[in-house]
Amino acid sequence: MPRVMKIIRRTSSLYAAALLLVLSLFFASHAIARPVVVATVPALGQIAQAIGGVDIDVKIITSIGHDPNVFSPRPGHARMLINADLIFAAGFGLESSWLPSLIKLSGNQKILPGSDGYLSGGDAIEAIGVPLGMSSHQMSQWSPDKNPHWWLDPEMGIKVAKTLSVRLSEVDTVNAQRYKLRFREFEQAINEALPRWRDYMKIHTGAVITYHNTYVYFMDSMQIELAGFIEPRSGIEPSTRYMESLLTVIKERNVKLIWVEPYNNRAIAKRLADEAGIKMMVLPDAVEGIGTQGYVGMFDKMVERIARWSQ
């Protein structure tokens, strides 16, 4: 009997040792694991990659061409959030129809809105209101919601990236210097390209009509004049009278181009363009690419497209 007890004691201590080993391995691996940052839209993912580089893991929820306003998440998206250390959202209501429930579903307490693991545009910038150059009639049609598409203004991108770099330094103190350095590089890359973009846009556009208010930040930054929106209130069909008034605006302000988001109804924009004898183009709000190269590449592509279509 004592012999049996001895064996049991020996095996149990073996088990304990093995358990200890596994646990220490787990904690060790956890300690060296890179922070996981989940971005809601592709351009935000690129900003996160630019700041975090090899020190973080970036996952992006929506893909290029998806309308983030009406995204319908899958269970995989909730799993994506389980191990997230930081969620990086555009904010200002853009993801409000699906992100809160997704976070709740993931059960991850670290990334609840208001906690250190939740960063949105509102933590760094003020959303813009009614843009300049609109008539009182257009202003009355302006959606009262704050405009969440700040990443289409490169300078706003810099501001938010700075806040992100600070937040990442708090999450991962060891690499704080590296985040700071990468932010400087990101800022420099944009500041170098910005005068070139603005010069191009000064030559090539004039007043422009857009489908929704998605490009207002971009226009603000590139000093492009806005002549009006086709669908001022999201999801509500404009009236025939409003469409006729846009035709007058096009004539009076010599509008040459209508911009449409990749995910919006092109038929109405095309109809207006045909009626007025001007051109309609689809403008991206994100492009393929990683980090700074992807984010800067988006503006390059937008500027290049607008220039080509304005000729």
């Binding site: 998806h66 069909e237 009236s239 025939t240 009278r241 409003y242 988001e261 995910y263 919006n264 109804n265």
Partner: protein, 275 residues
Amino acid sequence: MILLTVLIATLVIAVCLPVLGQRVLERRIVFVDLALAQVAATGYALGMALEIPGVYAAAATTAIAVIIMALMDEETPLPKEAVMGGVYAFAASVGMVLLSLLPYGEGQLMGLLFGSVLGIGWDGIIELAIFAGMGLLLALPEHANSFAGRMRFYAGLSLIIVPAIYAIGVLLVFAYLVMPALSVWRRGHNGPAWQALTLAVIASTAGTFIADFLDLPPSATVVLTLATIAVITGTIIHFTDRGNNEPVTADDETDTAEEDDDESNSESDTASSKT
């Protein structure tokens, strides 16, 4: 003139859809338009996934749906409405799954499903009228309750409905298909086609101008006008027709729906008359 194209487009569907709606109503397959439109949209998404032109893929899936629907006997003990509803739900779900796999698909599929009366130009109206004309030629003449006959009916139906939903949106198409026919419906049968047609044309004209005058969305305003006129007409018909217990006769009803009102000898009669 955007107002003018909107007016003409709503007039075209006001002329084409109510008569077709009477056929749809008497067969109790109201869901057929949603089902066909959804199958076409899903086909379009499938085409994008397989990298073949979306329009051909949409035509192919719609043709398959038409064949499946035509396999179903008109006297089938199955509730046809439930079958149509099932096809709609199935196609919509396949579309959604495909969509979730396609990064660029969403906008295009939405555009396909939800056309807008504001987006249609003169060439679009001509296209719509040609498709509707071909569809009516196929769907309106009485057909035999055989596979070929039903194929002709459903093919005609899809030729009208799919391009119409693509051009002007599901809201207007569904409303014009159902509301006028329902409004003149009496004693369990279709009323005169001219009544349905007249109220639809009035609704198109009045609704378009009301929307312009009050600065409201045209599709929704036209549908609301149509609904109002349809309810008023329906109420008048209900009260003037209250004492009348006679079966709906050929004078009252469109001649094609005639055999439906005599249920007792419909079996042998329809078989001989529909050829």
